[in-house]
Symmetry: C7
Subunit: 82 residues, 7 copies
């Protein structure tokens, strides 16, 4: 069980500085270290890697992602992916 | 019949701590324990499992889902699914 | 003719507690008892059944539907469907 | 020529109680008697009939339509259709 | 050159009472006399004719068009089309 | 390098009276003289020409374009295109 | 690690005057020097080059991009691309 999650953004706040899996629309995913987010769910990942159709495609480093293309963000998803 | 549902969000409030089925756009579904939601229907699931075309694809653990990709959320749908 | 419909939401208000047919985008439909709605047309159905391409697919029970995937809601459509 | 149309919603106001043709996205149309509308162009049709690819598919009776799936509404379009 | 166009809506204001070509999403076009518009670019056309894939499909008469399906509106486009 | 661009709309302001290339969604482009724009990026082009799949399709003259179908606007893009 | 990133827009602010990779919806990318941005993530690129399906297609020079077609912006992505 997870304690201390009262609002959805608490999950993102707890995940700062940790690796997260970000599922985007159109079968794109990104993994990277979550540095920042805002209420529009715009986020910043460091050491971001793009994954298309489950293949690692590109390292894009420090990256700004617009919230409206994001389906879900999973801090645990990175470990589960390996 | 269901008592005490006056506004749509009452259903989500009652479902906190219980397993829910979340239907997303593009034939994706997720099941997991509903921990939190907000007025944009951003939600947090714990022990989330992704289901694509009725196959369980991935365990993604604690997950933040953006509201705008959600079609419906069903607390009873998980049991019905089994 | 129908009396007492001055604003669109009056139809939904009159339909509370009755079965409705909900047409969603992407050829999905749901039937169920309308329990609640809000100004975003988020709705709650009880005893909801999902229908895809005119086939009854799943019973999902008590279900929260996000307004932005809804095309139309018809209280009479359920009877007409039978 | 048409008199007394100063704002777009005047057309809908004049069409209350009359049959209208409603073109929806995705090649769906509906015909029915316009009972009510709001500023989001949510509308209510009575005796609504759904038309897909120019074939009359279903009578759905009294129906609430969400504005964001509507392309156009034509009071004269029903007569022209016959 | 065109004088007196300081804001985009000035073009629509000058076009009132004249025939316009309206390009909609999904390869639909309409021609008709512009009677009214609002800040959402909802418009009213009189004597509207629908054109799909460059073929005149239907006369729909007086018609209300929702702004969010409109790509462009051209007062001169009608003449150019002939 | 370009001087005096502090906010994105400064580019559009500087481009008034000049030819611009406008890339729309769905592989449509337009070229024309930028006459006006607003904060929604609704714009007016004079002497507008429509280009679909890199072929010049139609001259539509003075044209109002809704902002939400625009991907980018390039004042230099017209010269580069030739 | 990256210091001084507290909000997502800090990344864009730090990237002003540097080359960035911009991933757009529909498999389009642009590279160019970031000159300006606003809270809608409308941006201005100088010396912009359009890349479709990983091929450099066009130089469009100074270009205004609307925020709502942007998936991500990566200052480091340009170097990684080479």
């Amino acid at each position: 069980m997870v304690n201390g999650i009262e609002r959805p953004l608490d999950v993102l706040n707890n995940a700062k500085g940790r690796e997260v899996l970000v599922q985007l629309k159109n079968n794109r995913q990104m993994v990277g270290t979550l540095l920042a987010f805002d209420i529009h769910i715009n986020i910043v990942l460091d050491n971001a890697k793009e994954i298309i159709d489950n293949e690692e495609k590109r390292s894009v480093g420090l990256t700004f992602l617009r919230g409206d293309t994001i389906i879900f963000i999973s801090p645990a998803g990175v470990a589960k992916r390996e």
